[in-house]
Subunit: 347 residues, 2 copies
């Protein structure tokens, strides 16, 4: 077993604190890489607090993980020692079902294995995430990272990046489309970058007027303060797509009214309470409300390659791991531009 | 003006009763046709009772209208006296907006004109529907009806038919697809006929076990009693599409779980209360919840032509107009197979 240092919560009432644990030895198909940076995702906090139920403790959070390969198994073909490597939200899946075969491991019919707060495919071994110094992952769930980009700023691509890239690709958002990005946070700022890169006209819909300058700097063409009824009215029936990154409760009927005929509202955030949708909000314009969840492994690699080619990374604030609670507090307030990344050298 | 006989409600507290009113003279682009049959749509009842608010009284309901042309305006090119003709839910629209130009008059940006309980494009003249002996409609909103089909059974195609045909065409439902039809009523029975005709595997999801034989007779391949948890479980993650014709409150999260990855749940009914949707129901499988509203004029004609070619009509029960209240009572109980049609000769 590999002795591993990390930060963990012991149960949902305790804070993150240093914890030593073991990871499996590097198997024939495994890659071990030392973690240099790990992004802080809003879902880390949801899971620590058991907001969605079923949390497994002790929990080592973190699923935006990048670092350098230190050991590879005897059968590993895709990686060698010294390579840059990354792992996102998944570390395994059944690999046999229809969805896995199509590269949609996030929808594995038999249940994919999350990077943390999950059980391995054996159904009993807990997984531990990236708030730690090293990790062992089957090579099929390890991604190649370009050395052209700032490694720390690549980390959030593994979740915030693919979560926004995937739906924009799936719905073929691009030239000639009017895309609204609802919420300008970790996910939203990546959605703006991708939307602009894909050629869409991008409008940020935000409750915070003070984010307008940032939105424009990120490349957004328009900015609408959603609390301003007049501004909102000016975009009634305007958008082809809304990418909704908000995980707080909000009235979707309002946003559906901003879509044109055949428009699609895509949710990637998970509010704690159900959406309330009036049938007429969908029927009056043949509109769709859709959801999207991260992306499969092939698409995640495609996204990383696209980012390397187009010089796209996340805007980050680097923190020491001892300051992670302060980072959570600021994240809750929306006071982060736009993703905290832990410098794992501070562990 | 044209003296017209009909059945109307004077306000939402009164019953339908004989009423005489006037229709406009036949203008240069108008077609007048004598109404032989008019279907009874569930939405007639909603509007009479002002369930959706904003009802206009007196109200002559009816938007599944067929009959024979008795007069045409000087500029009318598409119809001549003696032709069979029909009118559905719309009698006008702005004809200038993007949606009208695309033949999606039901989504007219400036507001289409409903066949009854609506105002003409002048914004002040009320429209009166098909529970009457004759009607005057602009030729662009009159449809050609084949003489190959039973005329009375054609009437419901104008609403129940196009409402189910349109989404199945829009989402290209056909060979290789597994389609569920939720609810076997006026709309549902047409959805089954079209789904089968388009080559899909069709499953009826119904609360009423006694409808199984009918469903099979209509061509459905499978029948699932939705109150039977075991039966329902057997189709988890099974369907590509669900066409939801139910206008009573129901839990969509349950039905979304029956969709496979990328599945689409299409609502054509309008329940009185909002749907409650958990974000995970959509996100876990990149699913979509969509709405669809009747169909535009070109597609309605296409549907009628398709029905003539493939010998598709509605299953109907003919009634005298004096029995319309009894018909409503039975419709509420789901006791109609599958559409009441008024024989307007009984007026």
């Amino acid at each position: 077993m590999i002795q591993t240092k990390g930060y963990a919560v012991q149960d949902k009432k305790t804070d993150l604190a240093p914890w030593s644990f073991e990871r499996r030895e590097v198997g024939p198909h495994d890659v071990q890489f030392d973690i240099q940076f790990c992004g802080v995702c809003h879902s880390d906090l949801h899971q620590i607090k058991d907001d969605w139920g079923g949390s497994i403790f002790p929990m080592v959070p973190g699923h935006e993980i990048v670092g350098k390969v230190v050991k590879v198994g005897s059968h590993v073909k895709k990686f060698k020692v010294g390579d840059l490597a990354g792992t996102g939200c998944l570390v395994d899946s059944c690999r046999k079902c229809e969805n896995c075969k199509e590269g949609l491991e996030q929808f594995c019919s038999n249940g994919s294995t999350g990077t943390y707060n999950a059980l391995e495919q054996d159904g009993k071994t807990p997984t531990y995430g990236g708030y730690s110094n090293t990790i062992v992952v089957h090579e099929d769930f390890v991604l190649h990272i370009s050395d052209k980009l700032d490694l720390a700023a690549v980390a959030p691509l593994l979740c915030a990046g693919i979560t926004t890239y995937s739906p924009l690709r799936h719905w073929k958002v691009g030239k000639g489309h009017k895309l609204a990005v609802l919420g300008l946070g970790g996910l939203g700022h990546m959605a703006v970058k991708f939307g602009v890169a894909f050629g869409a006209e991008v409008t940020v819909l935000s409750t915070s007027p003070e984010k307008e300058a940032d939105a424009k700097k990120l490349g957004a063409h328009k900015f609408i303060v959603t609390k301003d009824a007049e501004q909102l009215k000016s975009v009634t029936g305007y958008f082809d797509f809304i990418l909704d990154t908000v995980s707080a409760p909000h009235d979707l009927n309002l946003y559906l009214s901003l879509l044109r005929v055949n428009g699609v509202h895509i949710c990637v955030g998970v509010p704690p309470t159900p959406y309330e949708i009036h049938a007429f909000s969908l029927i009056g314009g043949r509109k769709s409300l859709a959801g999207s969840l991260i992306g499969g492994l092939p698409e995640t690699q495609e996204m990383l390659d696209y980012c390397a080619e187009h010089d796209i990374v996340s805007d980050i604030e680097m923190i020491d791991i001892k300051n992670v609670h302060e980072a959570y507090d600021r994240m809750i307030k929306g006071d982060v531009r736009y993703r905290f990344v832990i410098d794992m050298a501070t562990l």
